[in-house]
């Protein structure tokens, strides 16, 4: 292969300009799914973690403490099954029992479920790492249990949880490109379609470039966070 061929196939300016508007449309869809999944998954994970910490208190009756088991199974199952499998099951298997979710929302649901499982584990570990004496101190000052959770424990836990959480958020955002498998018109789907149409891999390279530009700052940021908080 000579240099001319290389440019023809991989950095073909004509195809790059021709397909860029469509790719950018796909990029917007990717970012929409990612943003929705991150916000909802993050909040849902936090709620699950707080519920789990609260019901695990020894003074609760056994029936309440047993609620722990379904949450633990939920978390483990979603951490064990590969994201693509969860996505395909939600989109292709659920319609058989009359639950039909549009592609876009099937993707959002999948990533919300998976992120919430990982976020729950991270939050719970960090909430449990906070000295229980702090809750006792807050309680003895007349603050309610829930209030002491919200204003004393969670802000501290959040800071400890930040580095593992950021790398998990990045991992989930990268997984969002799997949505193309169930036909969501995201960046990767658009790139593959353009590649077939023009029989030229330039769109796929442009997509790879766009993904990298999107994630590289995040990767750098998470590394810096990890270093800073490790000190």
């Amino acid at each position: 292969m000579n240099l001319h061929d290389l440019f023809y196939y991989f950095f073909n300016y004509k195809f790059f300009i021709l397909t860029l508007p469509d790719l950018l449309k796909g990029l917007v869809v990717t970012i929409e799914i990612a943003a929705l999944s991150l916000i909802l998954g993050f909040l849902w994970g936090l709620v699950l973690a707080v519920i789990r910490v609260m019901i695990k208190r020894p003074e609760n009756p056994l029936v309440v403490r047993l609620i722990n088991i379904p949450i633990a199974i939920y978390v483990d199952v979603l951490r064990a099954i590969p994201p693509l499998v969860t996505l395909v099951v939600i989109y292709y298997a659920l319609p058989f029992v009359n639950i039909t979710i549009p592609r876009f929302w099937a993707a959002v649901l999948t990533f919300v479920l998976i992120l919430s499982a990982f976020a729950e584990e991270i939050f719970r570990a960090t909430i449990e790492a906070i000295d229980f004496g702090q809750i006792e101190a807050a309680r003895s000052l007349g603050i309610s249990y829930i209030q002491s959770m919200i204003s004393v424990v969670i802000p501290q836990a959040f800071r400890i949880a930040l580095p593992p959480l950021t790398s998990r958020l990045i991992a989930i955002t990268k997984d969002v490109s799997m949505a193309s498998v169930i036909g969501v018109a995201d960046l990767l789907k658009k790139a593959r379609a353009a590649q077939s149409l023009y029989a030229n891999p330039t769109p796929l390279f442009s997509a790879a470039l766009l993904f990298t530009l999107l994630f590289l700052p995040l990767v750098r940021l998470s590394m810096r966070l990890e270093k800073k908080l490790a000190e």
Binding site: M1, L84, Y92, F96, V97
Partner: protein
């Protein structure tokens, strides 16, 4: 409830799909084992090279690591399988998957091993060298055995992620477990094979999930 059992846990469909699923499972296991092994070795090699502190080498390794931590793995699979042929490198599906998993996995393992190596005080390297050990001996008998404790929890978690990523080989039509399940789902018009595949992954990977949590708890403090 009946509809759920009939559609998701249909024994008849399962019996007809069992051979395909078994074939797929074998490919998945082989792929996971080989690419995990290669990714760990490549990551270790990169981490050790980085410990040499050669400025040019380090810049190249940093670019490599950042690039492949940023690029979604599914895109990497497609780049290797669909675009390398234009360069004259036509790898079969299986080896495209191995290469993609290795390239991606090595970037993560490099970071994990480097953190492990850096957790050991540099004075130990100097002391070992002063005692007449060469670089390789210092690495293998002084630094790496101590680094294992720091490395074990993230390495286990990353191995789990890599094994989960083998599913993406279905995108380039490698007949691994997920691909076979999708084929069976199409030809038998029942989602039972998909549910079966999900359960197989669950049984296979749940122990690793528990192990990851256990290691993080034990060594995390």
């Amino acid at each position: 409830m009946e509809a759920i059992i009939y559609n998701f846990f249909n024994i008849e469909v399962l019996l007809r799909a069992r051979y395909l699923l078994w074939l797929g499972l074998q490919v998945t296991l082989k792929l996971a084992f080989l690419s995990l092994l290669l990714a760990i070795l490549a990551g270790l090699l990169l981490a050790v090279l980085r410990h040499l502190n050669n400025p040019v080498l380090n810049v190249l390794i940093i670019i490599y690591v950042d690039l492949f931590r940023a690029l979604p793995t599914i895109v990497l699979f497609m780049l290797v399988y669909f675009t390398w042929p234009y360069f004259g490198i036509s790898l079969p599906r299986y080896w495209s998957a191995v290469v993609a998993l290795m390239i991606n996995g090595a970037a993560y393992f490099e970071e994990i091993f480097r953190a492990g190596i850096e957790s050991i005080d540099r004075g130990q390297t100097e002391a070992a060298r002063a005692l007449g050990l060469n670089f390789t001996q210092t690495m293998f008998s002084v630094i790496l055995p101590q680094a294992v404790k720091v490395v074990l929890p993230p390495a286990t978690s990353n191995s789990l992620e890599l094994i989960k990523t083998t599913v993406l080989a279905s995108v380039i039509a490698l007949p691994e477990l997920m691909r076979q399940a999708q084929q069976a789902h199409g030809s038998l018009a029942s989602p039972t094979p998909l549910i079966a595949a999900a359960l197989i992954y669950l049984v296979l990977l749940w122990p690793l999930v528990r192990l990851t949590s256990y290691l993080e708890k034990t060594y995390g403090k």
